[in-house]
């Protein structure tokens, strides 16, 4: 995903000389091609995210489109007030790009797990929030935010994520159906959508018809899509590599809350991480611990269906 991002940004920067990229001293083996091509528009600001975010606002207020890049919590939480006051409050054209969304940096430990970022970024005024599920969606979202003129958050995983569907996503603001199914619809954000695909396959073998849609844009959520598809399914499940509070589940549930006939919504995500819960583990192992492995997701959906029917 990060390579899809930088290659797309290079294309965008070739036709738009106002595109800048700032790095908080991260991006080894990823950002070099941009830095080599656009030396005057790439700055490694050092390990100083508050200055990076404030500077990005100052550069954007001088007429540029500024991408800032770092790992998960660093360009988001560390400089949160700069994003709130300097970027969002001024509608400065700044894009926050975080790699390592969710458990992508599994064994690195809690500091490197970005699992509350979507909630916090979504709370910021006018901030648009994107969590693409595969390289194709990453390319589409990068193109979109490079031209949108709006403060945006782009949550990426790492490298090597598979494409989850054929063809090019049309509009990142609209959810993209990865698999059709009528009994259950899983709405997933980010690369964990691949878990939904495997779980759907497994449930299909057991007689449940399960669809999967990727919600690459969590804010603004396409509430029309959610309200349109919900009545046609017996269960909506949301799946995210994030805590349930303030992420996809909260947005989808809120979109349906006022409806006259509500389809039940099952939220599948990570529980709050308490101080005694820090262990090493690969992304897959940590997801399994969180109950988010494909068999666990399938089992929880089956269980919910049993209760929902």
């Amino acid at each position: 995903m990060r390579n899809a991002f930088i290659n797309t940004l290079i294309v965008a920067a070739e036709s738009n000389s106002n595109i800048w990229l700032l790095s908080g001293d991260l991006g080894f083996s990823v950002l070099e091609p941009f830095a080599a091509r656009f030396a005057g528009r790439f700055v490694n600001v050092g390990v100083a995210e508050q200055n990076m975010a404030g500077m990005a606002a100052g550069i954007a207020l001088s007429g540029k489109t500024v991408f800032i890049y770092s790992i998960g919590n660093f360009p988001t939480f560390r400089c949160l007030e700069q994003l709130r006051n300097d970027v969002c409050h001024h509608a400065a054209d700044v894009k926050v790009v975080a790699v390592g969304g969710g458990y992508a940096y599994g064994s690195q430990g809690y500091t490197h797990h970005a699992i509350e970022d979507v909630a916090i970024m979504s709370a910021l005024p006018a901030m648009q929030v994107f969590a693409p599920c595969d390289p194709a969606e990453t390319r589409a979202a990068t193109h979109l935010i490079a031209a949108s003129g709006k403060p945006s958050y782009l949550r990426l995983s790492r490298a090597g994520e598979p494409e989850l569907a054929a063809g090019k996503p049309n509009d990142p603001y609209r959810p993209r159906v990865l698999r059709k199914g009528s009994d259950v619809l899983i709405l997933a954000s980010g690369p964990i959508a691949s878990v939904a695909m495997v779980a759907a396959e497994q449930l299909g073998a057991e007689g449940l018809d399960v669809g999967v849609a990727s919600v690459a844009c969590i804010k603004p959520l396409d509430e029309g899509f959610v309200r349109d598809v919900a009545p046609r399914a017996r269960l909506i499940a949301t799946l995210e590599e994030h805590v349930l509070r303030g992420g996809l589940y909260a947005a989808v549930a809120a979109a349906l809350a006022f409806g006259p006939r509500r389809t039940p919504v099952l939220g599948l995500g990570i529980s709050e991480q308490l101080s005694d819960m820090s262990v090493a583990g690969s992304r897959d192992a940590l997801l399994a611990t969180a109950g988010l492995s494909p068999p666990a997701v399938a089992a929880r959906i089956k269980q919910a269906m049993a209760g929902a029917i």
């Binding site: 528009r41 200055n51 100052g58 207020l61 007030e81 006051n85 409050h89």
Partner: protein
């Protein structure tokens, strides 16, 4: 664009002090001491230094002033009104319901570059503006006015480290060093000395002057004080509450609002 040389800086300083006193009194607002300590700096900036056009406040080639000590909003709005960005009569709406003139500096007011109020935000933004000006090959200059207490914030020191590394000689930081911060004297709360030497050690060209000496401010800010390849910091030694004897060097005037009698006394001292 040129600085406005028709306006007399000493008279401008007198006028904005009176405005700020009246605004803070009418709104029962705080921070008059912080406003008065930077009045002479603002007067020199707006009459002798900043190349700005009140009729075209968003001209891309204008000089930028980022007032990072956003709590001194009254003196900022007073300066902009006196410089012609909006009618002086608008100052009466300071802190009133529905007014753009909020108690901390608001960028929806014509002439204000950036909303501030949380300390330690302005200098990084100014650094970004200076870097962009360099990249554009533009002659526009960027000024950032900070408080001394604000220099407790670590975010400033990230920017202080960055600017000389990138040779931002189009950037001038001005520190209103009035020696009093929110809850005590700077030297007691979190000592900053040797202050100018800290900036020098980071690679800045540092100047110290009397922040109420219009002549010295004009000479240092209006002439090309920039040293090639290095940003400049002006440590302006000031007196909190300057110009009003009973407010000078008193912490309480970070918070208090003058009553009717105090306003009359203060205005008489300033020369209303």
């Amino acid at each position: 664009m040129k600085a406005s040389n028709e306006l007399d800086p000493a008279d401008f300083a007198r006028r904005i002090r009176v405005h700020a006193l009246r605004m803070v009194h009418a709104a029962r607002a705080s921070h008059i001491g912080s406003c008065l300590s930077m009045a002479d700096i603002m007067a020199v900036l707006y009459t002798r230094v900043l190349r700005i056009d009140p009729d075209n406040p968003t001209d891309p080639q204008r000089d930028r002033l980022v007032v990072s000590k956003g709590h001194a909003a009254a003196i900022v709005y007073a300066s902009l009104a006196e410089r012609g960005f909006f009618p002086v009569s608008n100052l009466e709406t300071f802190c009133r319901d529905g007014s753009a003139l909020t108690g901390h500096v608001n960028h929806s007011v014509p002439g204000v570059e950036v909303s501030t109020g949380s300390l330690g935000h302005g200098l990084p933004i100014a650094v970004g503006m200076a870097l962009a000006a360099k990249a554009d090959g533009s002659a526009r200059r960027v000024y950032c006015l900070l408080s001394d207490g604000e220099c407790n914030e670590g975010s400033n020191w990230e920017a202080v480290l960055f600017a000389p590394h990138h040779k931002l000689d189009n950037l001038v930081a001005i520190v209103d060093f009035n020696q009093i911060q929110s809850f005590g004297r700077v030297s007691d709360v979190l000592g900053l000395q040797p202050f100018a030497d800290k900036w020098r050690a980071f690679g800045w060209h540092a100047i110290e002057l009397d922040g109420h000496d219009i002549g010295a401010l004009t000479a240092q800010l209006a002439t090309s004080l920039q040293v090639a390849g290095r940003p400049t910091v002006v440590v302006a030694h000031t007196v909190k509450g300057k110009g009003v004897s009973f407010m000078e060097d008193k912490l309480e005037w970070h918070y208090k609002s003058p009553d009717d009698r105090q306003l009359a006394l203060a205005c008489a001292e300033v020369g209303a």
